[in-house]
């Protein structure tokens, strides 16, 4: 099985917040990178086209290896509905797509894509009811959980993600003390600032474009 995304180097990730389209860059120690995974759990936004299949979004657009999708992303939800066939599940504007590894227990097995016990959750399973028009733009919220979060999280943080400001505000206030000694630099729209200042800022109900860079541990 290939690596989740062999194309991206995983050395530096910058948190970039563009002002007005807020762009924040933070360089941190590698040990603190997983703290930012909470934001990926809560969800971040990607743009695609309506009618795009989950498989096409993940593999063609986001460059996730097909084998990784097949073998590691064992549980998926589209708007809360377990998905069995990723090539026949289509995205619409404001869709929520959640990705997870294989889950334990009977219910975990039941939710698994194409699993033996899928019928036990038949009433909530994703079903294609109508064809989805492929002409428009779609903004999709993507959530990552457990092993998929651990494996794909650094890749997405490095590329940059759109998140809701209030989630970031909450994140900063809860993690500030641990981030202070671990931050090498913070850039807000190309202006250097102290990480503590982030906690003091008023965040509108807007969105941030966030990239995270880690220093390579020597």
């Amino acid at each position: 099985m290939g690596s989740p995304n062999a194309g991206l180097p995983i050395l530096h990730t910058l948190i970039e917040i563009e002002y007005r389209i807020m762009k924040l860059s933070i360089v941190i120690t590698a040990e603190l990178l997983p703290r930012f995974f909470r934001l990926l759990e809560q969800g971040f936004f990607v743009s695609t086209t309506t009618g795009c299949s989950i498989k096409d979004l993940l593999c063609k657009q986001l460059s996730i290896d097909e084998e990784y999708l097949d073998k590691r992303i064992q549980t998926l939800f589209l708007d809360g509905k377990p998905v069995d066939k990723v090539e026949k599940a289509y995205l619409h504007n404001d869709a929520t797509l959640a990705l997870s590894g294989a889950m334990p227990g009977l219910v975990g097995a039941t939710l698994r894509k194409g699993g033996t016990f899928a019928s036990m959750r038949n009433t909530i399973s994703y079903k294609v009811e109508t064809s989805v028009n492929g002409d428009g733009e779609a903004r999709v919220k993507l959530k990552l959980f457990n092993m998929v979060l651990k494996e794909l999280g650094p890749v997405f943080l490095e590329s940059g993600i759109w998140i809701q400001s209030h989630n970031f505000s909450d994140f900063i206030s809860r993690n500030l003390e641990d981030l202070k000694p671990a931050c090498d630099s913070v850039d807000l729209n190309d202006q250097k600032m102290d990480v503590a200042a982030l906690a003091g800022m008023t965040w509108d109900d807007t969105e941030l474009f966030l990239k995270v860079t880690t220093e390579v541990s020597s």
Partner: protein
């Protein structure tokens, strides 16, 4: 394991000990043995706290051997909570030690005279029963500390806390883990109350001087165990997900599915679930306890290591890593999103000896009744302390969700046969609802576990999209689970066994090599069926009929957001589960 230890707690002159050959029960273990003894020897109409009930403690068929994952202990009786047969299951060390001491089961019988509390010590020299008055009123942690001081650190303990002493229907039985902490519980169905009724506070097990149980065919056993371990390690669930995040890995996923019972089963999603997710919990544990804190095996021989250790903000041990069920019961189901508060509640449950599922469900019912506010963690902690202190309110709460609902006039009480539902809403996953309704145990999520796929025909022969398909699935899963429970294997072997036919074959090979048998998958199915038949017949004789194989009515009427669905499986279909 060629003997059964029977102790008549009500004999003249004090408890009478009798170690007898297994006799007709030979070749049985775990749930197979507890259910066989209870169904054969306990009058189904007896009072669960009376002299005719029996508490049967049985290691699995492979416990005490070197088979990986074989350390589960079964505890059986007539349940004070459901009124039917009960098997509660726990990890920890006692099963392995009892197996090595040669005991297929301990059976506590009769009722002690007076209110004497006893300690039972079992070692290679035999059995000794002494007065345990000095332990009266102690929690499980203090009890175990005293046993450690008296008997050393190589023992294991099976004990009850204050809840069991008070014979509360939500009382559990604690088993110590590898660190000699009372963190693994035979939780469900009030088994702790039965142990309390027998006047037994603690059973101390010391297997010093005993060796591992030896298989009939050591070479085949070794080969099968190697294959078994390889299968468990290579699977992403047993080899990665559970060791990294524990069972609480399920929180985000079940929540996303809209099947996460929230605020007493009002909704299927909890907005703040990622504050209490397995991912957040693992990170918290490692930040406070160091790398590896989130990975821990509950018994020697466990290679999945789904447990962990939870430290408080000062870096001191607080409790074992709370399980998904506990985090849900005390968390989302009560509207609470504070992991530290949930961990404290887990600690209190373990110490007082309470089923965390029942306790959490009960608090949520109490919240619906207005006894506390949803989301008030401090109030929830206070309510658990009331149970441990034995206040009138505490005694109500400690008797479970059904009693609490009745006392406070709450309609929405999520129980089947008096036992609270676990952490999956049956409206979201109807198949689990079929299992909740029909299992012999009351609402139980582990009674219908996945064990094998095509090999055991678990998928059945009926179109799975039809209601009959769900019935067949639940039936076959219950059969398969009962068989696994007899071996002493942890149920988390289920996923690798399901996915990897060679791993399921390795399990059968282990049993065959150990006992010198030639079992096939059909034989394992037959074992599961015979266990369920025993249990079903007991329940019928105890007065539990098909009308008890139902979910509460409101699950059929009340739509669950976000999918806005109700439980749709018909009663006449539920009645087909045990048609074989």
């Amino acid at each position: 394991m060629d003997k059964i230890l029977r102790i008549n707690m009500g004999a003249d002159g004090g408890p009478a000990i009798n170690a007898e050959p297994v006799g007709d029960y030979a070749g049985s273990g775990g749930r197979g043995l507890t259910s066989a003894i209870v169904s054969k020897e306990v009058p189904p109409l007896c009072h669960p706290l009376g002299e005719d009930n029996k508490l049967v403690i049985a290691p699995g068929m492979l416990s005490g051997s070197t088979a990986a994952m074989s350390g589960r202990l079964s505890v059986g009786c007539k349940s004070p909570l459901t009124g039917g047969i009960k098997e509660a299951n726990a990890g920890g060390q006692p099963s392995q030690m009892l197996g090595r001491l040669g005991y297929a089961a301990i059976v506590l019988e009769g009722l002690p005279q007076g209110h004497t509390l006893y300690k039972i010590l079992i070692n290679k020299d035999g059995v000794e029963i002494t007065d345990a008055g000095s332990l009266k009123g102690l929690g499980n942690y203090d009890t175990v500390d005293k046993m450690k001081a008296e008997h050393g650190e190589k023992i294991s303990c099976i004990s009850i806390g204050q809840a069991g002493e008070m014979k509360l229907a939500g009382a559990s039985i604690a088993c110590t883990d590898m660190e000699l902490r009372p963190t693994r519980h035979a939780g469900r169905g009030g088994v702790g109350a039965v142990m309390g009724s027998k006047g037994v506070k603690v059973i101390v097990i010391d297997d010093a001087g005993m060796k591992m149980r030896q298989p009939q065919d050591p070479d085949k056993f070794k080969e099968a165990n190697k294959e078994w371990v390889a299968g468990l390690k290579k699977h992403p669930v047993s080899g990665e997900g559970l060791p990294a995040y524990g069972t609480n890995v399920l929180t985000n996923v079940i929540n996303e599915a809209g099947a996460y019972p929230t605020k007493n089963f009002m909704w299927g999603r909890f907005d703040n679930c990622n504050k209490i997710s397995g991912e957040t919990q693992a990170e918290t544990e490692e930040a406070r306890g160091g790398k590896g804190a989130a990975t821990h095996g509950c018994h020697r021989g466990c290679i999945i290591r789904c447990s962990g250790t939870y430290y408080n903000k000062d870096g001191q041990y607080l409790t074992k890593q709370p399980e998904y069920e506990t985090v849900w019961a005390h968390g989302g189901n009560c509207g609470i999103d504070d992991l530290d508060a949930i961990a404290m509640m887990d600690r209190l449950d373990d110490d007082y000896g309470l089923d965390t599922i029942e306790m959490g469900a009960t608090i949520a019912v109490a919240m619906e009744a207005g006894v506390a506010e949803f989301g008030d963690a401090e109030a929830a902690i206070r309510l658990i302390k009331e149970v441990g202190e034995g206040t009138p309110l505490g005694r109500i709460l400690g008797s479970g969700a059904a009693v609490t609902g009745k006392v406070f006039g709450v309609e929405r009480v999520p129980v089947v046969k008096g036992q609270s539902m676990p952490a999956y809403d049956p409206r979201g996953v109807m198949g689990i609802g079929v299992t909740y309704a029909t299992t012999t145990m009351g609402a139980d999520h582990t009674a219908g576990y996945a064990v094998a796929s095509n090999i055991m025909g678990v998928g059945g022969s009926v179109d799975p999209l039809k209601p009959e398909g769900q019935i067949e699935l639940s039936r076959n899963l219950q059969i398969a689970t009962a068989a696994v429970d007899a071996t002493g294997m942890c149920l988390f072997v289920a996923f690798p066994v399901l996915d990897q036919p060679e791993t399921f074959q390795a399990l059968i090979d282990l049993i065959n090599a150990f006992y010198g048998l030639s079992l096939t998958a059909d034989d394992v199915t037959a074992l599961g069926k015979s266990i369920l038949t025993n249990e079903r017949e007991f329940n019928l004789a105890a007065g539990l009929s098909s009308k008890h194989d139902r979910l509460p009515e409101y699950f059929k009427k009340e739509k669950l957001p976000p999918h806005n669905i109700t439980f749709q499986v018909k009663d006449e279909d539920l009645d087909k589960v045990f048609n074989w």
